[in-house]
């Protein structure tokens, strides 16, 4: 390393995922000189390269396949679909390429200095960037934003190294469609990818340690999804752990430990480990700074996303749950505003979460599970999709929309939806919660007919016992 390569920047952003690039772009818009560092050739991060975007492309195909199958019931019959994996993969790649190239261009237009490499701190104001083997240079910064994201976490002692055992990144590569596939972990990643493989023809088994899928999500919403997945998947093993995994000629032999008696060992052609993600806070040279990391590996930050080192900020997955791209982007913008001297703070009332299975599950704000844990009194009002005209016309009455309302102030505190397109519907809930809307506000806003969005309005009507399409008089107990 040579001394003359000691460059300077106002803001260094480490990690170019949705958090990092959003931060870098806003900083550039505010007139800062910005350096954006990422090991990938273009901005986008896990979200674009190995996460949200490729999985959604595949899930779209998966849904199309299910619908084609269901159309037989409506009098339209298609031939059994032929799947050209090669073409499917390249379409997925194309989507990713379009998006990341677009980001690359936006980055250039804003004069953000994008550096491909891995960065580590030398001290609280200097980064060392390795751009290639033996090629390193240093850059000093006034402020840094850490947006290094997270990576799949295996189960220590159980997960084995084998080409037949994948993590989410491997599964998205779509190397082949195994005849049988074991998904370890009933969280959103496992269920989304399981749905893709099931649609493409794999016989999927999901094994989940807890008593239900999607830990922490309201049970009534999970139930809607589980009903459908039970048909789509070969088996859903709840209260069950993977005992031992062994690679054999035929695939991966797996034993189970279950509360249910005798779950026999079974061999799967492939297995996907989807047991969660862990923050990328190691190998960053944090020991050379004052940044502190908690016992789970998350970097500790305050309301402004400042770490315990005043010149360094952290956002996104590496700064704590929930590990969601849209939370990271918002945090990234908050951190940059703070650096620019504005009085910004990360203070959301509702961070939406969406599980992109079919049907989708989405929620925001307070959930029933949380309300229960806090011993908090809320009125939960539900509108079943069986009463929605739009749901009927789509042949998808398997759904429910609900609002959580404060019985005293009548304020909307949270919303939950399970059903086709729930991810799009939830945005209205976010707006309602953030604006501190009352159930009346939602009820008195005209919603277009016939759409699924009417279920939100009608849920609010249920609160007053006046829903047009279901008869459920207001309970007397409410005062």
């Amino acid at each position: 390393m040579t001394a003359e390569q000691h460059a300077k920047t106002e803001l260094a952003v480490v990690g170019a995922g949705p958090g990092g690039y959003a931060a870098a772009f806003l900083a550039a818009d505010l007139g800062m000189r910005v350096t954006l560092v990422d090991p990938r050739p273009k901005p986008g991060g896990v979200c674009l390269f190995q996460g949200c975007i490729p999985s959604k492309a595949l899930l779209h195909v998966s849904k199309l396949l299910s619908e084609a199958e269901e159309a037989a019931g409506w009098g339209v019959e298609f031939a059994k679909p032929k799947i050209d994996l090669e073409k499917l993969r390249s379409w997925k790649k194309e989507v990713v390429k379009k998006l990341t190239s677009g980001l690359s261009q936006l980055s250039t237009q804003r004069k953000v200095n994008f550096v491909q490499g891995t960065a580590a701190f030398i001290d609280s104001n200097t980064l060392e960037i390795s751009v290639a083997r033996d090629k390193k240079h240093r850059i000093s910064f006034q402020h840094a934003v850490l947006a290094t994201g997270s990576r799949p976490a295996g189960i220590p002692g159980t997960t084995i190294e084998s080409p037949k055992v994948m993590d989410s990144t491997g599964a998205l590569e779509l190397e082949d469609v195994p005849k049988t596939l074991l998904i370890v972990g009933g969280g959103y990643i496992g269920l989304e990818l399981g749905s893709v493989y099931a649609s493409l023809g794999s016989r999927v088994t999901v094994v989940e340690m807890m008593s239900d899928l999607l830990l922490g999500v309201d049970k009534d919403l999970v139930k809607v999804l589980r009903n459908r997945l039970e048909k789509k998947f070969d088996a859903i093993l709840l209260d069950t752990k993977v005992g031992r995994m062994k690679e054999t000629k035929k695939g991966i032999e797996v034993t189970f430990q279950s509360k249910a008696p005798d779950v026999p060992a079974k061999t799967f052609e492939k297995a996907l480990i989807a047991t969660g993600r862990k923050p990328n806070s190691n190998d960053l040279g944090l020991e050379n700074t004052k940044v502190e990391v908690d016992e789970r590996g998350f970097i500790e930050v305050d309301g402004q996303r400042r770490t315990t080192d005043p010149s360094i900020f952290a956002i996104g997955d590496v700064a704590g749950e929930p590990m969601l791209a849209h939370k990271a982007s918002h945090e990234g913008r908050v951190a940059v505003e703070v650096i620019a001297g504005n009085k910004a703070e990360f203070d959301p009332r509702a961070i939406p979460a969406v599980v992109f299975t079919d049907p989708e599950i989405a929620w925001c704000g307070l959930t029933e599970t949380e309300a229960e844990a806090q011993n908090r009194k809320v009125d939960v009002v539900r509108f079943p999709w069986a009463a929605s005209g739009r749901a009927l016309t789509m042949g998808r009455t398997d759904g429910v929309t609900k609002l959580l309302v404060d019985p005293e102030t009548e304020r909307v505190l949270g919303m939950g939806v399970a059903g086709a397109g729930a991810g799009e519907l939830i945005a209205e809930g976010v707006l309602a919660v953030e604006m501190a809307a009352l159930a009346t506000d939602v009820r008195l806003s005209i919603h277009p007919h016939p759409t699924l969005s009417e279920t939100v309005m009608e849920s609010a009507e249920v609160f007053f016992g006046q829903s047009t399409h279901i008869y459920r008089p207001k309970r007397k107990s409410k005062s």
């Binding site: 504005n342 910004a344 203070d347 806090q374 011993n375 009548e410 304020r411 501190a436 009352l438 009346t440």
Partner: protein
């Protein structure tokens, strides 16, 4: 199933404390109401009782650590049925946690009750008014539930943040208490008016930078304990706001000493100690009745004088943690023996850390007796929002010219510091004179007090 215990609401606006002692350890079987930690808050140390039960799995705090209300203290693994989530306030265990409000009042009610009283610069309100923010304490309208996110749109929240208003203290006028930009403006205006009323108060004199003492020799640094910190803040505030004047007097206590010797036994039998301070309590309460302006506070914000119709008197107690001022309630309704017993108990409680915050609030006047240690006179600082304080120094035999000859009399020096904003010099002289005469002629108390 693991259950968390978080630091419960301590009542009285106390938001944090220092863990003085951890009374349990990992692996212990924790029972309901068992004391978990000894917590030191502004002026009290008390034990925090558990609201959960089970085997302690992990403890997240350390002795000496500052903890906030709501902070996780420990987790227990417990059988689900044994546990009711620790969300509600713990039952008030009178002895171990006196600072916990006895009845959980709904916030709306509490605010309604408190509103008029808060407008009076009581000790807490005054202390909160001087530093920035904490507007909630003196804005008449009620704010939301404590844990509730303020009902305001993101743009409104941003506006509040930008002009430096804590939105959780703003009351909304919209449906469901929703806060608008106008509400924020109204709140900010009310705040600045309050501040303007206090303009006489220097908004905070910038700290002079400290030199590097280590240059000249070895030094040691120690964090201030809570009592010291609070004393420093409070007396600093008193010193900068009160127009201090100190008046000097001497009282002949020869007769009183005799009385003390004669009746000391009576007080002792009752469990007290018949000290000069105990007697002065009674005399001062009588004097406050005769001179009501000494049992008052100034409300500059409203340009009003608050006259108190009760007679609670604080007594400065020297403890190993620093100066504490327990307050003896309704002094006018108790006799001297009763007062001597109560004073002994209060002083003991202050010294062995069992005194509660509540027992140190609500005073009308303070007595500080340094006579046991020495001194010929000192100028005490008025304990705001009170308006006067009596200092007692060491008594000694002095020659007094009585009926044509010198006589040795036991004389005690008395000083009265008062807030000249409210009290005129002549009144102060009369007040202290009245006390001296009452000491010398106790019958006066019966006659006039």
């Amino acid at each position: 199933m693991d259950v968390e215990f978080t630091l419960p609401d301590l009542g009285e606006g106390v938001e944090y404390g220092t863990i003085a002692k951890i009374l349990v350890s990992v692996g212990d079987e924790l029972e309901m109401d068992q004391s978990i930690v000894e917590l030191e808050t502004d002026k009290a140390v008390f034990e925090v009782p558990s609201s959960i039960s089970g085997v302690i799995k992990e403890i997240f705090v350390q002795e000496g650590e500052d903890v906030k209300v709501g902070q996780k203290i420990l987790t227990v693994s417990s059988k689900a049925e044994a546990v009711k989530k620790a969300v509600e306030k713990p039952a008030p265990a009178e002895k171990s946690a006196p600072a916990v409000e006895p009845e959980p009042v709904s916030p709306k009610e509490a605010a309604a009750e408190k509103a008029p009283e808060d407008a009076v610069p009581t000790k807490t309100a005054m202390q909160e008014m001087v530093p920035e923010a904490t507007p909630a304490s003196f804005v008449p309208l009620a704010s939301q539930k404590p844990d509730e996110a303020a009902p305001a749109a993101p743009s409104v929240r941003r506006f509040a943040r930008e002009i430096g208003i804590d939105i959780n203290g703003v009351s909304g006028t919209g449906p469901g208490g929703r806060i608008s930009i106008d509400d924020i403006k109204r709140h900010a205006k009310a705040l600045s008016e309050q501040r303007a009323a206090f303009a006489a108060v220097p908004a905070g004199i910038p700290l002079e930078p400290l030199p590097d003492f280590a240059k000249w020799g070895e030094v040691a640094r120690e964090p201030m304990n809570k009592v010291r910190r609070k004393t420093a803040e409070h007396l600093g505030h008193a010193w900068t706001t009160v127009a201090h004047v100190t008046h000097f007097e001497k009282a002949d206590i020869t007769q009183l000493e005799k009385f003390r010797e004669d009746y000391g036994k009576k007080a002792e039998d009752a469990g007290g100690k018949l000290t000069l301070t105990a007697i002065l309590l009674k005399i001062v309460s009588a004097a406050l009745k005769v001179f009501p302006q000494f049992n008052a506070s100034i409300d500059l914000a409203r340009s009003e004088i608050v006259y108190k119709k009760y007679y609670h008197i604080g007594v400065a107690v020297d403890t190993d943690r620093g100066l504490l001022v327990p307050v003896v309630r309704d002094v006018d309704r108790k006799n001297i023996v009763e007062l001597s017993v109560e004073l002994t108990q209060m002083a003991q409680k202050a010294r062995n850390k069992t005194i509660s915050l509540e027992e140190m609030k609500g005073g009308c006047f303070t007595i500080s007796n340094l006579g046991g240690i020495g001194g010929t006179g000192f100028t005490p600082i008025v304990n705001t929002p009170e308006v006067a304080i009596l200092g007692v120094s060491r008594s000694r035999v002095e020659p007094l010219y009585v009926d044509g000859e010198f006589e040795g009399r036991l004389i005690v020096p008395l000083t009265l510091s008062y807030d000249h904003r409210l009290i005129d010099g002549a009144d102060a002289a009369r007040f202290l004179r009245w006390i001296v005469e009452a000491i010398e002629e106790p019958f006066k108390v019966l006659l006039e007090g």
